[in-house]
């Protein structure tokens, strides 16, 4: 495999990681029946929190923890509005995005142009030398390795634990889950907050690992891509990986093609990731409808206990 191909695949993993975190988080929220359109705002706020705390403490792990906390706290707002107040989830999520974007831009003014320390690429000893897979998967930042762990953990929790059972029950049929004694509100809160924490990790990856700086709007729409990828993944953590890396790869590919001197219509190439996401969305929706699997039946429907 040529070094350029390896470089593109490594870039795909690198670029896909923030979206992967966000997608995993949103899978949890939506599996429990809550649609959270506020991912973009949460990621931005967490990116700022992660960068700022890392700059203050010179420790990117503390920064990452702060970012996860920031994402979690913002998601509580959405959970409160959607679960307790039963407000419209689409509107609440949008408000969160607008607010998160504005607030992070405002509070982050002092951090623009400040050099950060951040994570460094850390090759895994021995495995990094494996041809092809080594450079692609094991010469990345520590947060990427964290995402590798997050996927099987998410899968396990969702499909092999009692929590996962409760989550899925709440998302499919909250009345039945309630009748069985599951605290619907608590499960939904938990999942939304888990979504916020994971989105937070995705955000801080952008500001402390992918690059080591902060600028407003640095997520550039990745939160929205994550929403589409959740559908592509049919709400399954493992498939989310494919979607995230494909998305990251499409952009990396056009840049690498330029570097090798291939001349291609630039702007049409830049549209590629978005067109790709739409195509993927269409296919996934058909698949979902055909196989009748995937969409949690109670998604975005507020639950009201009756009787």
């Amino acid at each position: 495999m040529s070094p350029v191909t390896v470089a593109v695949l490594a870039a795909a993993v690198r670029a896909g990681t923030p979206v992967l975190f966000a997608t995993l988080g949103e899978i949890f929220a939506e599996r429990a029946g809550v649609l959270n359109l506020g991912i973009e705002g949460m990621m931005l706020a967490s990116a700022l929190a992660g960068f700022a705390v890392t700059a203050q403490t010179s420790n990117p792990w503390i920064g990452a923890a702060a970012a996860a906390a920031a994402g979690g706290c913002l998601s509580v707002i959405h959970a409160f509005l959607s679960v307790t107040l039963r407000a419209n989830q689409v509107a609440s999520g949008l408000a969160l995005t607008i607010f998160g974007t504005g607030m992070s831009a405002f509070l982050g003014r002092g951090y623009v142009g400040v050099p950060g320390s951040g994570f460094q690429a850390t090759p895994v000893p021995l495995i990094a030398q494996v041809p092809v897979l080594g450079p692609i998967l094991f010469q990345q930042d520590p947060l990427v390795y964290l995402s590798y762990a997050a996927v099987p953990v998410a899968w396990y929790v969702l499909y092999r634990t009692r929590w996962g059972l409760e989550i899925r029950a709440v998302g499919e049929h909250p009345e039945a889950a309630d009748a069985m004694g599951v605290d619907v509100a608590r499960v939904r809160y938990g999942c939304v907050i888990a979504g916020g924490v994971l989105a937070g990790l995705g955000g801080t990856f952008l500001s402390t690992a992918y690059t080591s700086m902060w600028i407003e709007n640095m997520t550039a729409g990745r939160g929205w891509i994550a929403l589409a990828l959740v559908i592509f993944a049919t709400w399954d953590p493992v498939r989310a990986v494919v979607g995230a890396y494909l998305f990251g790869g499409v952009n990396a590919l056009q840049l690498h093609l330029q570097a090798t001197g291939t001349s291609l219509p630039t702007y049409l190439l830049l549209m590629a990731p978005y067109v790709f996401t739409i195509v993927v969305l269409v296919i996934a929706t058909q698949e979902t409808a055909r196989k009748r699997l995937g969409t949690p039946a109670a998604l975005s429907v507020p639950y009201t206990r009756t009787g």
Partner: protein, 362 residues
């Protein structure tokens, strides 16, 4: 009733706000010249806008003026409102720092004939609207000399921003410098289509590093390319300001701006009443552009050569765009003995020999 109490409270709040607004009168007349700056990005971008703001501070400390700045004003029609607002608030010298402000400035300049306007990087003028720019190509050439001397793989990567003549000119000047010291080196161009998007610029930088580039150069305002080079132990040429803090071992040099003296020049003209809609395109000799201090990793002999060339440029004895210059196809565009004129430079849309890449027209 709970609601009517809240209703009354919010009514009082609104009334209070209106009272404060109406009560505060216009600002007391100031004798100092009021200079307004309109920026396209945030000051702390460590790049283009940062350099302009440094110029603003220089002006404040070297001339008897008060200044204000408006950041992150989008190019296009919205900026017209900002320019009008500044003019209405008594600012008599207003500087717009991005080419996208061109049409709005023309319009507002027409509406306020007693206000002086300066448009950085534009080309439309009026009696009270001047255009100004710096010959950043001169230090780009010099940084090319450094890059060409420091590359071992003979592959140099250029993270280019948007395909406008200014960027193309910069790539060409840089490449001419590279090839002057190292005729075997090639400059590969990747367009990021951003002015300031660290993620995208970093990916562009990585793509260049992956084809073997060991020196990177950039036209964007973010230090992402320098960080990418530093992480892989390679070198980088920055832009706009001294970005060494972002990668001390990687940072070779950078073409930088120093707008202060130019702003002082314009302010003086306004005060003397001699402001005219001229086209001011200054070079290193007037101090508007220069190179950042060259990094310690560059050998002394190279530094000496570069500084000597710099002196020659300042004295007017060397023009980086003097022929013979061939384009990518090998055709001679500028014959020996000629030099590329200003207007040809302003609409440059072809690359010189040694550049690998194309100017996208679609």
């Amino acid at each position: 009733m709970r609601v009517s109490r809240w209703g009354r409270l919010s009514g009082v709040l609104l009334a209070g706000m209106l009272a404060v607004t109406v009560g505060s009168g216009p600002a007391p007349g100031a004798e100092k010249l009021k200079v307004g700056f309109v920026y396209v990005g945030p000051v702390a971008d460590a790049g283009w806008t940062f350099a302009h703001d440094q110029g603003r501070r220089y002006l404040e400390s070297h001339a008897n003026v008060t200044t204000t700045k408006v950041e992150s004003v989008p190019e296009g029609a919205d900026s017209e409102r900002v320019f009008t607002d500044l003019a209405r608030k008594g600012y008599r010298l207003i500087i717009g720092t991005s080419f996208g402000y061109m049409d709005p400035m023309v319009k507002v300049a027409g509406e306020f004939p007693n206000v002086a306007f300066v448009h950085i990087s534009g080309f439309k003028r009026a009696k009270n609207l001047a255009t100004a720019f710096g010959r950043i190509e001169q230090p780009r050439y010099l940084s090319g000399l450094v890059a060409g001397s420091m590359t071992k793989s003979n592959i140099i990567g250029y993270v280019a921003a948007h395909p406008i003549p200014e960027v193309v000119r910069g790539i060409n000047a840089f490449t001419l410098g590279v090839r002057a010291t190292n005729p075997k080196a090639t400059v590969h161009v990747v367009w990021s289509n951003t002015w300031y998007d660290p993620g995208q610029e970093k990916e562009a930088a990585e793509s260049l590093l992956s084809i073997g580039a060991d020196v990177l150069a950039q036209h964007q305002d973010s230090p992402a390319a320098i960080q990418a080079a530093a992480a892989k132990g390679k070198y980088a040429v920055g832009y706009n300001s001294d970005m060494s803090k972002f990668g001390p071992k990687a940072f070779l040099t950078a073409p930088v701006w120093d707008w202060g003296p130019m702003y002082a020049y314009f302010a003086k003209k306004v005060k003397a009443g001699t402001f005219a809609g001229e086209d001011v395109w200054w070079g290193m000799d007037k101090g508007v552009v220069d190179i950042a201090p060259i990094g310690a990793m560059v050998p002394a002999s190279v530094k000496a050569m570069v500084m000597a060339r710099r002196t020659a440029m300042i004295a007017g004895r060397f023009n980086e765009f003097s022929g013979p210059i061939k384009d990518q196809t090998g055709k001679v565009r500028i014959a020996a003995g000629n030099a590329l004129g200003d207007s040809a430079q302003l609409s440059m849309n072809w690359f010189v020999e040694g550049v690998i890449g194309t100017v996208p027209t679609k």
